[in-house]
């Protein structure tokens, strides 16, 4: 059985997108980690131990602690969106694993409705961009488009979950095929094709867009540094090291 052109295009598209995303992110992460941090600049009060810093960071990632202090609206919408996204992504793992991991099955029912959290959160964030004068002022076209893209991905996904079901078994074969370099036919409903094209596009722009906030957070010196400058001489930064040891 020969593969259709559409299947070939989508297979190629996902290979390229995955490659760009992986290489791009690795490049960025290596670049961040190679760039020196010449001074101690944690935003204080800051933890005085490494484990304290890990806890601080975990709070930022899991509950968006700083954002919570800053603005309850952005926090609630942002958190609904990200937590929804996380559940939805985890749920998607069942298209990539055989047999499906047991915990993916456990969250499956929640994942299904998490898409509502996600889309509601994003609609809230989008509304703020239009309604709050300060946020409108700082928004660039890409800020709106990023939200629109994600909402569109979410909505097309929900359509397939709740309204126009696609051939999930065949879809899973397609993705498992991609993973084992043995391309299988892709079901060709319009909703699915749109959904997948947008996902591939999102992966493509991930490393060159503001989505870099995800790796960026872990490299933020104001959050990841231990507050111990009097006890420990912070002097490992490349270029500054020379400077710091001359009289």
């Amino acid at each position: 059985m020969g593969l259709s052109t559409v299947t070939m295009i989508y297979a190629g598209m996902f290979y390229i997108a995955a490659l760009v995303m992986a290489i791009g992110l690795v490049y960025k992460i290596v670049d961040y980690s190679r760039t020196p941090v010449p001074l101690k600049i944690p935003t204080t009060p800051a933890p005085t131990t490494r484990s304290g810093v890990i806890f601080r960071m975990a709070k930022e990632v899991v509950v968006f602690e700083s954002l919570f202090k800053a603005n309850k609206w952005i926090w609630i919408f942002g958190w609904l969106f990200h937590f929804g996204l996380l559940l939805v992504l985890l749920r998607h793992l069942r298209y990539f694993t055989e047999p499906v991991w047991f915990w993916v099955d456990i969250i499956q029912p929640f994942g299904k409705y998490a898409s509502f959290m996600m889309v509601i959160g994003m609609l809230g964030l989008l509304a703020r961009r239009f309604l709050v004068d300060r946020v409108r002022y700082i928004s660039t076209p890409s800020d709106y488009l990023m939200l629109v893209l994600l909402i569109a991905i979410g909505v097309t996904g929900m359509l397939m979950t709740f309204v126009v079901h696609t051939d999930i078994v065949a879809l899973k074969m397609f993705f498992l095929g991609l993973m084992y370099f043995d391309v299988q036919p892709l079901p060709q409903d319009l909703t699915l094709l749109i959904h997948l094209a947008m996902v591939a596009f999102l992966m493509l722009i991930f490393p060159i867009s503001k989505l870099l906030h995800a790796p960026g957070l872990f490299f933020s010196p104001t959050r990841n540094q231990v507050d111990n400058p009097r006890e420990k001489r912070h002097a490992q930064a490349g270029w500054a090291k020379q400077v710091n040891q001359t009289k």
Partner: protein, 510 residues
Amino acid sequence: MAAPVFDVPEIKNEIEIPKLREGVMAHAKTFPATKPVQDFMGYPHELPEDWKERAIDKMGDLLGKYRSLKVFLDACVHCGACTDKCHYYLGTSDPKNMPVARQDLMRQVYRRYFTTAGKLFPKLVGAKDLTQDILGDWYNYYHQCSECRRCSVYCPYGIDTAEITMAGREILNHVGMGQKYSNEILGKVQKIGNNLGLPGPALEDTLEGLEEDIEADTGVAVKMPLDVKGAEVLLITPSADFFSEPHVESLIGYAKVFHAAGISWTLSTHASEAGNFGLFNGNYETMRKVAMRIRDSAIELGVKRIVVGECGHAWRVAYSFWNTLTGIGYGGDDPFSIEFQKQLDPNYPQPQHICELTNDLIKSGKIKVDPSLNDDLVVTYHDSCNVARASRMGTEPGGQFTIPRELIKSVVNNFHDMADGTIGEATFCCGGGGGILTDDLLEVRVKGALPRATALNNVVKEHKVNFMAMICAICKAQFTKVLPKYGFDMSMVGGVHQLVSKAIKLDKAE
């Protein structure tokens, strides 16, 4: 050149988030540095022909040197959480004073020259070619940021606009757009030893005069030693403490503390300045050169401890950077720091804040105080931004909030904090920090003080507060100048050690 006339904002019951009004602070331009000043610093004094290349090159250079800059310019999602956090936005309503918008002044250029998206689709991602107009915006708005880090508390990624401002000023300097105020000061401290340009003999005279005043006042011969070899403590304090009011009252307070505790101490002519404006300009080498004067003096005088007086940004540099820059601290494993760290007394934190020192002495009973001597005062405490969000005191996180308050409460009976959200890590900058404490930016300073003035006004109404204590020379100078514009008396402003000075018992503790 007279500064423009402007309306002083009205204090409301609460700190309000204004609707934005574009361009209302576009006229506020700090005076540019002149040729001799820029020459000394090694910068051009006018826009060179190849300014654009130079600016972009410098930006690339800084991006390679500071992870903070690179990550911060990439990571912002324009969520807007920081937009209402800056006192300059709250006081002026100019949208370019919103932290993220201030960052975007640089981010738009960063995206255009350093990112794929900005090179390919500039309009889409808000990327712009560098123009003289943009440089002008940088000059205006990077001098309407006091590098107070309030925005970094609230940003979900900890993006610290101060880092961007510092980089911006550094680039501006490299294309001949230096600021008169800061660069003149950096010249003075390097040539003379302090920001005020007060030469050794004048300092000696001043200190002698103060000794006489104290003796006339108390009957006790409290000394203000200068350049005394073999003293135990070297006190590094902002030069404003030597003869600005109310700063000098705190200097008298430190002297009384050392006297009462029987600790031998000294000031230094060579290092007669705690302040380090190298921080404000983002020039690492300058900051280090200024800091090295302190190490050099400590070695020369053979002291065992280094204590820092009331100054906010100085404490940030001392606490957070001295160890890195000069080896003043512990834990260095290279010859440069080991050599010096051997000289220090390991029983004390190095450097130590004067509030840590005094608080310990009072708690351990080594000095005695009588808080009723301050019963005429109802006191509140202004957390200075650099102490609050860029340093620590004591051993626990947050010691920078508890130790000064503990100290104040041990020397006064009436104390009331200002509202939550305006103190501690959320404290509002005085409006004059970060190299903008100059009359040519008076409008920015007055408007930037609005949130603090509002919070103060509320405790004045509610608790009859009549004294706002603080531990920063810039805050003191700023508030004595701008609070009167809001109808407060300038005698409300003073140092924590001004309170200590009044309450301390000078006769030997039994």
